[in-house]
């Protein structure tokens, strides 16, 4: 009943479809169950979890998206830093950020605990949205609008790094997101990001 002893280098004569040993069977069963758990975790997190990369996704003309971003920035502009507008949209608003070589436009000022729909897209090439220091990462693809519903859970002065190679100046591409509390204060519970650099929000 056992297969004749042979190595993987030898041809196998006759029928090799034979029952497996017990330990092997058990391991295959354990691995199979584990694979089902791995699989179930993802739909489960969509149902019960708070972090999903779903969002609203649609194609968009890159220039039209940039124009929409500029209009959004003008509408809710509350200040300026390093030549970029600081934009404070109301809770629940559609918020636009355009990535272009080598900046994130504009600077956002959001309120803790409020939900926004954050639209990300690119004017030119692929970019990578990486929210520092909490390490939230999304791909930014030209021609595609990625509308993510986000709710900041902590105040602070955050950065947006670019983590997709976008050209030789890639490593200079940093944007800014400010999260304030209900009273409008940037209480920094976010030790790694320096507060108050450049213009005050």
């Amino acid at each position: 009943m056992l297969t004749k002893v042979h190595t993987g280098l030898e041809p196998v004569p006759g029928v090799w479809w034979k029952p497996a040993h017990k330990a092997e069977k058990i391991w295959v069963a354990v691995a199979f169950v584990w694979c089902m758990i791995l699989f179930a975790m993802m739909p489960l997190w969509h149902w019960k979890g708070g972090q999903n990369p779903s969002g609203v996704r649609r194609r968009v003309d890159p220039k039209a998206f940039y124009a929409r971003t500029v209009a959004f920035a003008n509408q809710y502009k509350v200040g300026e830093d390093k030549g970029l507008p600081i934009v404070a949209p109301p809770a629940g608003a559609d918020v636009y950020v355009t990535a272009l070589t080598f900046q994130w436009y504009p600077i956002l000022k959001l309120e803790r605990g409020k939900e926004y729909t954050l639209h990300l897209s690119s004017l030119d090439v692929n970019h990578g949205f990486s929210l520092f220091p909490i390490n939230v990462n999304f791909q930014v693809v030209p021609g595609y609008d990625y509308g993510l519903r986000v709710t900041p859970t902590a105040t602070g002065d955050f950065r947006i790094l670019c983590n997709e190679f976008c050209g030789i100046g890639h490593h200079t591409m940093v944007g800014r997101v400010i999260v304030v509390d209900e009273a409008g204060r940037t209480v920094s519970d976010n030790a790694a990001a320096a507060v108050g650099q450049g213009g005050q929000p």
Binding site: L2, V5, T7, G8, L9, E10, P11, V12, P13, G14, W17, K18, A20, K22, A23, E24, W27, V28, V30, A31, L38, F39, M41, M42, P43, W45, H46, G49, G50, Q51, N52, P53, S54, E115, L120, D124, V125, N126, P133, N135, V136, F138, Q139, G143, Y144, R149, T151, T153, L161, N163, F165, I168, H170, H171, T172, M173, A192, A193, A194, Q197
Partner: protein
């Protein structure tokens, strides 16, 4: 009809160690591809040293332009040239030597090799002259010189034709009855790799031909998201060629070094079939936080349709060590749970490379890969240093390490040369694997703090806003840097050994049984043959009285430890994810 009767007489030689028939043309094709692979490894490893010394922020060696340029060169040479040339050698070896067969259309094989070399040279020329600063992935609308894309197309066409020749060789071997019964498992694994290669290279054609036409102005645009989908069907699936080839080599080295047996052909072969069926869905691993695809598509594809390819790897992760354990026990090394491991030939670089490849691939590469390839957890990992931390564990510590181990056996068997610098060769796998493990840990931990991959300057000295990473990141990058120096030293030692052996090595055609000769791995002079009554011993080891752990209790314990590590790492990452902002 005997094998030698079909081609010209004298075309075969009989191997002094294994008794297998080696065709002279096939031998040449194996040699050419293997040597070219080593040249690519040299270029890639030299670039690796400069890159790691740049990412180690305290050293920060290269200027920005050369960092990005050499990053493209490194990716191309390691992931494409080194690995695919070596796989071409594996295909020629498995199709001809292991089946005692002649190669199909060897002249066409030389032509295809030439095509691949021309493609490689065009790519390198464009990269080094700064006309392809688009990194390895070349995502449009970033655009390289058309010659760059042309080079890739030539390389892929050459590779695809060799795969076709491999299938033709299998047909010849079967028709000329050069072996009895079913293909050996190792050949079956190589066939798996070849089938996945066809799928992969066809995606390569689908993505690079339109991109080439776009670069010369014949079509107006390439959709960036469609490109990413198709490119990763090439880029990730090609890593699954490596996995299949690597697992085949695990079975081969197990058999050569310790007489590893195949526990059950049905289980191992079914696992290979699962690879073929599901592994091409892995393109999705790179698109989990992309705007082009919905959750259902992401979940089904990233999990290889309910993790069936992961199941396959977990099966091999059991059957390979269990086969080694049983092989050792059948030869009398039966003491305790781990006597078979303690008394294994750790000084044989073929064996140590095998074990290190299995362990680091499984524990590090496998566990991190499944975890960061989870739809939501990818939010924490996408494009951070965790990604290269993962794939260096699979492709370098896994595949490249296995290829190195195989080389120590191919040098005497195919090149008929002793392994040069034998004392260095005996420690080379440990040096290389140890260094790489430091690189992988440094990258993974730094990436967990959000340090991006493919980034010249994480001090952001030229950026508009300041960014200061947690100071512990410097420690992880130093770990990566020091590990990188060790690993490159290990890689260069391997290259030196291979080159010296091939071109200046001592000729060896006889493998006197029972002798210990420096430069010849122990598996060739002391082949791990089983006793005549091995099937009886096998029955005894499998006696029901031995309990559910059966004949391989040591392996049961080892996979138990692996499983616990897997569960712990996986759920820790879900916990970390739950601390983030609400995102949906």
């Amino acid at each position: 009809m005997t094998a030698a009767a079909v081609p010209a007489p004298g075309a075969f030689r009989k191997c002094g160690a294994t008794g297998l028939l080696v065709h002279s043309r096939a031998e040449w094709l194996i040699k050419l591809n293997a040597v070219t692979a080593v040249v690519a490894l040299l270029i890639g490893a030299s670039a690796a040293l400069l890159l790691v010394l740049t990412r180690w922020q305290a050293v920060h060696l290269l200027p920005a332009v050369w960092y990005y340029r050499l990053l493209g060169v490194h990716g191309m040479n390691m992931l494409i040239f080194f690995i695919i040339y070596f796989e071409m050698a594996v295909l020629w070896f498995a199709g001809t030597v292991l089946l005692n067969s002649r190669p199909a259309a060897p002249r066409f094989g030389f032509f295809n090799f030439g095509l691949m070399v021309v493609g490689s040279l065009l790519i390198l020329w464009m990269q080094f002259s700064g006309k392809a600063d688009v990194l390895f992935t070349s995502y449009p609308p970033l655009k390289a010189d058309p010659i760059y894309y042309l080079g890739i197309i030539l390389f892929a066409v050459g590779g695809l034709c060799v795969v076709g020749q491999y299938f033709a060789t299998l047909v010849i071997a079967r028709r000329e009855k050069t072996y009895v019964g079913s293909q050996p498992l190792v050949v079956y694994g190589a066939t798996t790799a070849a089938i996945i290669a066809v799928v992969t290279l066809l995606h390569g054609a689908l993505v690079y031909i339109p991109t080439f036409l776009w670069s010369v102005g014949l079509i107006p645009a390439v959709d960036p998201e469609v490109y990413r989908l198709l490119w990763w069907a090439l880029g990730h699936s090609s890593q699954q060629i490596n996995v299949a080839a690597m697992v085949a080599i695990w079975y081969m080295l197990g058999g050569l070094t310790v007489g590893a047996v195949v526990l059950n052909e049905k289980v191992s072969r079914s696992a290979f079939v699962l690879y073929i069926l599901f592994i091409s869905m892995a393109s999705a691993h790179h698109l989990l936080v992309d705007p082009g695809f919905g959750p259902a598509w992401k979940i089904v594809n990233t999990s290889y349709f309910m993790y069936m390819a992961v199941l396959a790897s977990m099966v091999h992760g059991f059957t390979v060590p269990a086969g080694m354990e049983l092989g050792m026990r059948l030869r009398g090394f039966t003491d305790g749970l781990f006597g078979w491991l303690r008394r294994a030939p750790w000084g044989d670089p073929g064996f140590s490379a095998l074990v290190l490849s299995v362990v680091v691939f499984g524990f590090f590469g496998g566990i991190t890969g499944v975890t960061i390839g989870t739809e939501q957890i990818n939010i924490l990992a996408h494009n951070t240093l965790r990604i290269p931390g993962h794939f260096h564990a699979t492709v370098v510590s896994g595949t490249a390490m296995a290829f190195m181990g195989a080389t120590y056996y191919l040098l005497p068997l195919i090149f008929q040369r002793k392994v040069a610098f034998w004392k260095v060769a005996r420690i080379q796998p440990y040096l290389f694997a140890g260094g790489m493990l430091m690189v992988e840990m440094g990258m993974t931990f730094a990436g967990s703090f959000g340090v991006p991959r493919r980034h010249w300057d994480i001090s952001f000295s030229q950026a508009a806003f300041d960014v200061q990473f947690n100071p512990v990141v410097d420690l992880f990058l130093a770990l990566m840097g020091i590990g990188g120096i060790l690993a490159v030293t290990g890689a260069l030692a391997f290259i030196l050994i291979a080159v010296k052996s091939v071109f200046l090595g001592e000729k060896v055609t006889e493998f006197p049984r029972g002798s210990a000769i420096a430069g010849i791995p122990q598996g060739l002079t002391n082949p791990p043959v089983h006793a005549a009554n091995v099937d009886e011993i096998n029955e005894q080891l499998h006696a029901p009285s031995r309990g559910w752990m059966g004949a391989t209790p040591g392996t049961v314990v080892l996979v138990g430890v692996f499983f616990l590590a897997f569960i712990l790492y996986y759920f820790t990452n879900w916990k970390l994810l739950s601390f983030l902002w609400k995102i949906g």
